[in-house]
């Protein structure tokens, strides 16, 4: 196939893509929080600026979040989190890429609520691990929202806890994801 043909084919595919119905949705204001309980103290933080893209036709879903955007109750905890634990100067982002299993078609015009399987890969602190969990997808009054939760083990992401406090800090962290509203992705 010569070059012109290739370009033609790609152009046609591009156009057929735009002709299809809107299937891609995004948000810039998703929320991710995490917490871990331990004898010494509870650690909690919240990030309100999660970027996520969801394709309701293919089920492809992505999340990006900035590590420095996690806000803690205590400044010292936030500094330790960034400097000693996740090293956010070196690894500023966490990313999740995965697929949600869509069994019934999602349409913004039909109210629905479904628990779906999510399989994908999460990268934190430069280390990638598989994540398998479930998510709740909801359409209510033309608003598409989603939520999920799962537990990670710090050691899986090579996040080391200083030995002085290692007995007192929970090595597992519960992560909660909430997308209040996905918006259609304008082309």
């Amino acid at each position: 196939m010569n070059m012109k043909m290739l370009i033609l084919v790609f152009t046609l595919r591009l156009f057929s893509g735009t002709a299809q119905a809107q299937t891609k949705y995004f948000t810039k204001t998703g929320q991710i929080s995490f917490h871990s309980k331990s004898a010494m103290e509870n650690i909690e933080a919240m990030n309100n600026k999660v970027v996520s893209v969801l394709d309701i036709a293919t089920g492809q879903i992505e999340f990006s979040v900035l590590m420095k955007g996690f806000e803690f109750e205590r400044a010292l905890m936030q500094e330790h989190f960034n400097e000693n634990y996740v090293e956010s100067d070196k690894y500023p982002k966490a990313v999740f890429k995965g697929i949600i299993e869509i069994k019934e078609a999602i349409s913004l015009t039909t109210d629905m609520s479904a628990t779906v399987k999510v399989n994908g890969y999460l990268t934190i602190h430069g280390v990638t691990n598989p994540i398998n969990t479930t998510a709740l997808i909801t359409v209510k009054k033309n608003v598409l929202s989603a939520s999920a939760g799962f537990v990670i083990t710090l050691a899986d992401y090579k996040i080391s806890i200083p030995s002085v406090v290692s007995e007192k800090i929970n090595k597992q962290v519960t992560i909660t994801v909430g997308i209040p509203a996905y918006q259609p992705l304008a082309r």
Binding site: K28, T29, K49, L66, K68, R74, L76, D89, P92, K93
Partner: protein, 165 residues
């Protein structure tokens, strides 16, 4: 007078009376107690320290929304070295205000045609002030730069100035 101080005063004054026997030992004990008290007071204060109010922090850089967004778009690593984790002051036109139930208010500043803008999550104290401003109004906002996703992200933002009509 506080009981403790009275006790310390007594200890010191009694030392002066019989200097030879106890003075050295007591001075060491008092010194240790003061050091321990100071250290624990510092530790307690440090542990309970709240994240700093940006309003009182001088920005390490002043930049226009278009310039910082362009820099992040072209060389994210370089831009991070300059701005990541720092308090910066950004000026640009209000492109969009995303208000989530009055609790989380994001102000996007920059050229409305540009793909990448500067997204400022306001400190709660400014959630009401922003309501009086309309899209297109030039604004200066100060906040902590947390990096770059679709936009340059600023957290805990305070409104520094709004151009007068």
């Amino acid at each position: 007078m506080d009981n403790r101080w009275w006790w310390i005063y007594q200890l010191i004054s009694s030392n002066q009376e019989n200097k030879v026997r106890v003075s050295k030992k007591n001075i060491v004990i008092i010194a240790l107690l003061i050091i321990i008290a100071a250290a624990s007071a510092y530790g307690y204060k440090e542990y309970n320290r709240k994240p700093a109010d940006i309003a009182g922090i001088a920005p390490t850089a002043k930049v226009s929304a278009a310039i910082i967004a362009g820099l992040y778009d072209s060389d994210e690593a370089k831009a991070n070295k300059l701005y990541l984790g720092k308090t910066i002051q950004v000026t640009g036109a209000i492109a969009e205000i995303i208000n989530q139930q009055d609790t989380l208010v994001n102000v996007l500043i920059g050229d409305s045609n540009s793909l990448h803008k500067v997204s400022c999550l306001l400190a709660h104290a400014y959630n009401n002030e922003i309501k009086q401003y309309t899209i297109g109004k030039p604004i200066t906002i100060k906040g902590i730069c947390t990096g770059f996703l679709m936009d340059v992200e600023l957290n805990r933002c305070v409104i520094v100035a709004v151009s007068q009509p």
